[in-house]
């Protein structure tokens, strides 16, 4: 406490009383729009609730699909659902649960809780959150309704080609999956960028990384994993759509593609996905257990190390979904070992939670019960996980009901139970009334017993031979009884979930200000008195549980004795702090409500979905409208610098930052990591197909001439050298010359990648000719996907300069262009090295 006391020994607390009207101004600035205009709001408290509500709705709808599955399988040779309907139903159950519920709901909980937990007024990119939500909402709803038109995909949630290619899945159902899911993945990435920058740059002053709540750690790792894992499946969905629409044979073995390429790419995403879902849930448990036990988390550092280790390991396990594909035994051994190793970090966490429970006195609340349920079920799921990591055992149970049982134990235990715990635990922080403890306990026992009745017998069902994804089964194989029990149990789960819904309807009343307050006597900042602007003033924290260690903090914060007790600039704002120590660096001004993100999202969704139903003209119009909406949205961003602002406590902060200090720079770096991960996945695909069918790689004389390639490379280098020139001109306050150089530079960049793509075409290569050719042109697609935004950005900058919204100081957008442009050139050079160099190397 002495160290903490010295840290607090600043000009805090602020003098009281606070000036007249300060609080009223703060309230006015942060007020949510009224009536239907609420949909234009961007504040995390509103978007977060929309987000959770939508994700929970998908949970309920996909749960109903699960019940349909159980009804169909209750008795052998059932005719309740026909084959075609059943195949759509199980595909949608899996897809919706994974893509429209699990990932979005944890992302949503992050959006809702993180700023409060970090005592930030909002996330750093509120309109990006709004965009991510609306894109997800529209895309998800349309995707779900395909089920009612017999247009739902039926390839299973991992959509293995060749079953999902044009020949075996004609029609547009599979395209709905590919475009719809690809689009929702983009929304997830947008959210992830937001969360990374939010966690690293908008923490309360004094909240160093080591004082950060575990939930923030898990969300940081969650977002990081999304950034590296999702690009793999985005690439895979792009490739499969190109194969379906234009015959680029990435996965067709007759033309030098390979069906297993999809599985590698999909599971390179798909396995981390499981931990992407689980880690934030574990983070919630790590918040709830100490609050309920009344003691700090035991083994905080160990848990952080375990979380990071899980994040890393999870990228090295994907092949354990492919143990039965005939991959050489040697590599199976490696992946088996890695799969078992990943259970160690989970074990650490389980025992750390138990240790925390032992260290304190656990309150027996509904939330605590869900935590216990989580511990039991997740442990069992983890143990069956170790079992299926054993290759020979997996050979028997892979794709059987044993695996169905395993992943429901892991996912429902590891994610749904924590979610319900979180509902009961955090409700007092966001609702006027807490949920009913009595209903919650009933719900817990129904869900817990129902769950085990449903899924425990499935371990046996699988071992006695029942494969998954069968719409019917014959009598006499011994599967009747376990299936009937499972079906009965499923209705127990439904009853429990129904009780939660009843409880939510009865007691959940969103509260803009507070609610019952810190009813659990928890130690973290989300339990400070709250409003749409988060806390009245932003505290300086000195420990992991400030509410326990800093007596009177709630009252002081509420009275405005800490930082930023009002609005310093008259706009919405939040303090940007340094990534490691959490020291204030500058005051970020935040945008208020607006329709442009909503329109941008709706039109982006419309673009993808209309393309699917082949209404090309209207789709293109929507695509243009989406870009226009984004430009309108971006027009208002990057406000001009103002005088430095006094946030109280003797701290005066600038209101504008550029370069690595700027939150925008950080977001761009994260976006480049996404693009890099996408290109890395592509590189993997290229080299992988080469190992499978090297005979398709061209002879040297069939390659485009080296001179053309060198010309294109030279153009790229010229374009690259324009970046520092343009930056230097800007620094010398010569804005127009700077942008002219940038325009010419970007034009040269576009010319270079065009020349390169054309030279491949001129050499006679056609993308539908072979897997090799498709990959070569895929490289061009990936280059264009960076170049087009660069063109848009440079054009946008020219207009802003003409309008006086861009100059040598107000230059964040230029910095972003320079970063993306530089990355694009590097990626293009690397791509050319691959497409021209590699065939020469091996040819």
């Amino acid at each position: 406490m002495t160290a903490a006391a010295s840290e607090l020994d600043r000009d805090l607390p602020n003098p009281l009383p606070r000036p007249e009207g300060e609080l009223e101004q703060l309230q006015a600035i942060w007020a949510s729009p009224k009536g239907w205009r609420i949909f234009s709001d961007v504040n995390n408290t509103v978007i977060g609730l929309f987000y959770i509500g939508t994700a929970f709705l998908f949970f309920l709808m996909a749960g109903v699909l699960g019940l349909l599955i159980r009804l169909q399988l209750a008795v052998p040779s059932n005719t309740f659902l026909d084959q075609n309907t059943y195949n759509q139903v199980f595909t949608m159950h899996g897809t919706v649960m994974m893509f429209l519920f699990a990932v979005p709901v944890v992302e949503a909980l992050g959006v809702l809780l993180l700023p409060q937990m970090l005592a930030a007024r909002d996330l750093p990119f509120p309109r990006l959150s709004a965009y991510a939500f609306w894109a997800y909402f529209v895309g998800g709803m349309v995707f779900f309704t395909t089920l009612f038109f017999d247009l739902a995909p039926q390839g299973g949630w991992f959509m293995y080609p060749p079953l999902t290619n044009e020949r075996y899945s004609p029609g547009i159902a599979a395209d709905f999956w590919l475009l719809g899911i690809g689009f929702i993945e983009i929304s997830a990435i947008a959210g992830a960028i937001e969360i990374v920058v939010g966690v690293l740059r908008t923490r309360a002053p004094g909240m160093s990384l080591t004082r950060m709540p575990i939930f923030a750690w898990t969300m940081l790792i969650f977002a990081g994993m999304i950034i590296f894992a999702f690009p793999a499946v985005i690439l895979a969905t792009m490739m499969l759509e190109l194969e379906r629409a234009f015959g680029w044979p990435f996965f067709n073995p007759d033309l030098g593609g390979d069906a297993l390429l999809w599985q590698h790419l999909f599971w390179f995403f798909g396995h981390p996905e499981v931990y992407i879902i689980f880690l934030p849930a574990a983070g919630m448990i790590s918040m709830i257990v100490p609050a309920m036990a009344g003691v700090p988390l035991v083994g905080y550092r160990l848990i952080v190390v375990a979380l990071i280790a899980t994040g890393f390991f999870s990228f090295g396990l994907w092949v354990h979904h492919m143990f039965t594909t005939g991959i050489p035994v040697r590599s199976l051994g490696f992946f088996s070992a890695a799969s078992m190793a990943v259970s160690v970090p989970s074990g650490i966490q389980v025992f750390a939670w138990i240790a925390t429970i032992a260290a304190g006195r656990m309150k027996m609340t509904a939330a605590s019960l869900f935590v216990f349920g989580f511990l039991v079920i997740f442990t069992l799921g983890g143990l069956t996980g170790v079992m299926v990591a054993m290759v020979p055992f997996d050979w028997q149970v892979h794709d059987t009901y044993f695996v169905v049982a395993h992943f429901h134990y892991v996912l429902v235990g590891g994610m749904v139970f924590p979610m319900f715990a979180a509902f009961y635990y955090w409700m007092p922080a966001i609702s006027e009334r807490p949920l009913s403890e009595r209903l919650g306990k009933w719900a817990f026992w129904l869900i817990f017993l129902g769950f085990n009745t449903t899924f425990f017998p499935m371990h046996l069902t699988g071992l006695i031979g029942m494969p998954r994804r069968v719409y019917t089964y014959p009598e006499g194989l011994g599967w009747e009884l376990p299936n009937m029990i499972s079906t009965l149990g499923a209705f127990g789960i439904a009853a429990g979930v129904g009780l939660v819904v009843v409880d939510l309807i009865r007691n959940f009343r969103p509260a803009s200000s507070g609610g019952p307050g810190n009813v659990w006597n928890a130690g973290t900042l989300e339990w400070l008195p709250n409003d749409t602007y988060a806390t009245r003033s932003v505290p300086r924290v000195v420990s992991r549980e400030p509410l326990w260690d800093q007596p009177g903090l709630s009252e002081d914060v509420e009275a405005g004795r800490y930082y930023l007790p009002g609005s310093a600039t008259g706009m919405r704002e939040t303090i940007v702090t340094s990534p490691i120590d959490g020291e204030p660096q500058y005051l970020m001004r935040l945008p208020g409500p607006g329709w442009s993100p909503v329109f941008a999202a709706v039109f982006t969704a419309a673009f993808f979905l209309l393309l699917t139903v082949k209404l090309v003209t209207i789709a293109m119009i929507c695509g243009v409208l989406a870009i226009v909406s984004v430009l309108v949205w971006m027009w208002g961003s990057d406000p001009a610098p103002t005088e430095p602002a006094d946030i109280g406590g003797g701290v005066v902060l600038p209101t504008y930052a550029t370069g690595p200090l700027s939150h925008s720079w950080w977001a761009m770096i994260v976006l480049m990591l996404v693009a890099g991960a996408l290109f890395f996945s592509y590189l993997f695909g290229y080299l992988y197909l080469w190992t499978v069918s090297p005979q398709n790689w061209p002879r040297l004389d069939a390659l485009p001439p080296l001179q053309t390639a060198l010309t294109a490379a030279a153009l790229l280098l010229v374009s690259g050298s324009a970046i520092p020139i343009s930056a230097a001109l800007l620094k010398a306050r010569r804005c127009w010359p700077s942008l002219v150089v940038a325009t010419l530079g970007v034009a040269t960049y576009v010319a270079a990648i065009t020349v390169d793509g054309w030279s491949q075409w001129a050499s006679g290569l056609r993308p539908d000719g072979s897997g090799y050719a498709a990959l070569v042109f895929m490289s061009s697609v990936l280059q264009a996907e960076i170049a087009i935004p660069c063109v848009l950005m440079v054009g946008f900058l020219l207009v802003r300069l003409a309008a006086g919204r861009f100059d040598a100081t107000r230059r964040v957008m230029f910095d972003n262009l320079a970063l993306l442009w530089g990355y694009g050139i590097a990626q293009a050079l690397f791509g050319m090295l691959l497409t021209h160099g590699f065939p020469r190397l091996v040819g």
């Binding site: 160990l302 032992a358 656990m362 009745t453 071992l463």
Partner: protein, 329 residues
């Protein structure tokens, strides 16, 4: 805590009692499946042990005496139970698993063994036996093997990904277009063992099963030797008429019966269809009635099947064809 657990565990023996053994990994009849079952029991024992540890630790943490709770809350306990214990047991387990994997995949040096190629198609199994003299003989939806001898399966696919799985005999292995996977196993006892496609292959995936018939080696050798031969013409006049109809109605465009004009290869080979216990990829018992039903409306039995409905034929004609087919043995 414990009260909650009694429920599911008490059900276990009840469930096992109802089990049939024809498609069960818990009832192995060969060394490959037996080795995996031994591993399974070890894994279950270990899982049960760890479950008990976690549940007791949780119970103690909640309700135990202070001394025990202090012990559990100690960081060293986390290291011991969360790191040391798993690393040690998992390493041992991994070694055991790798051993089973090697044993199950390495060919036994003893005999040359039988080679069978199985090709997965939506939604049936094309079977090719390689005879000792190198000729290939076709069959479908049933594999006969000798007991006590290792059989090598070459697994391929004609369309989408399938997975070849006979739980009583071995683990599964996928059939992937463009690739050939190899699986070896043997059966200890004569009997009929059911297999089923284990990788979702669209449409009627649920109805894509087959049977492995393990025979005494001398019976098998005699059967295999007679397999390529042409069967004598049927004695019954109705079956004879069925044979004529079979060719004239175009069945031979897709199906083959060795020694007749029917030489189609699109559909399952029917040369010995009368010997099989089931039809439609182990979906229906093989009876003349079921055959006639299948001929009339195949998609009522297996939705999405390629075979068109033959309602253009009269019921008598379909009956005659089914009698002819039932006699192909």
């Amino acid at each position: 805590m414990r009260a909650r657990w009694r429920g599911p565990f008490l059900l276990l023996p009840l469930l096992l009692a109802g089990c049939s053994t024809i498609q069960s990994a818990l009832h192995p009849v060969g060394p490959e499946a037996s080795r995996i079952l031994d591993l399974t029991w070890v894994l279950f024992a270990l899982a049960a042990f760890v479950t008990i540890i976690v549940l007791s630790a949780l119970a103690l943490a909640l309700f135990g005496p202070d001394r025990a709770r202090r012990r559990i809350a100690d960081g060293r306990t986390i290291v011991a139970l969360g790191i040391v214990f798993p690393v040690v047991t998992l390493t041992a387990l991994l070694g055991y698993g790798l051993w089973v994997m090697r044993e199950n995949t390495s060919p036994s040096p003893a005999q040359p063994g039988l080679q069978v190629e199985v090709i997965g198609e939506q939604w049936w199994w094309r079977v090719h036996y390689r005879l000792p003299d190198g000729t290939i003989v076709a069959s479908a939806n049933e594999v006969r093997i000798p007991t006590g001898r290792e059989v090598e399966f070459a697994l391929r696919s004609a369309d989408v990904i399938h997975s070849f799985w006979v739980p009583s005999l071995a683990g599964k292995l996928d059939m992937i277009p463009g690739r050939t996977n190899h699986l070896r196993f043997s059966a200890d006892r004569p009997g009929v063992y059911r297999g089923q496609c284990a990788e979702y292959c669209g449409g009627a995936h649920a109805l894509m099963a087959f049977e492995v018939v393990a025979m005494a080696p001398e019976d098998f050798d005699a059967w295999l030797a007679a397999l390529p031969a042409t069967l004598p013409p049927p004695a019954e006049p109705e079956a004879t008429r069925g044979g004529e109809l079979f060719v004239a109605a175009g069945c031979g465009g897709c199906h083959a019966v060795r020694g007749t004009a029917a030489d189609g290869t699109t559909g399952p080979d029917l040369s010995r269809v009368g010997e099989r216990r089931t039809i439609a990829a182990a979906t229906l018992p093989n009876t003349p009635d079921n055959l006639a039903r299948f001929i009339a409306e195949p998609s009522h039995i297996k939705p999405g099947v390629l075979m068109p409905p033959f309602t253009v034929l009269s019921a008598d004609e379909r009956r005659a064809i089914s009698l002819y087919l039932a006699g192909l043995r």
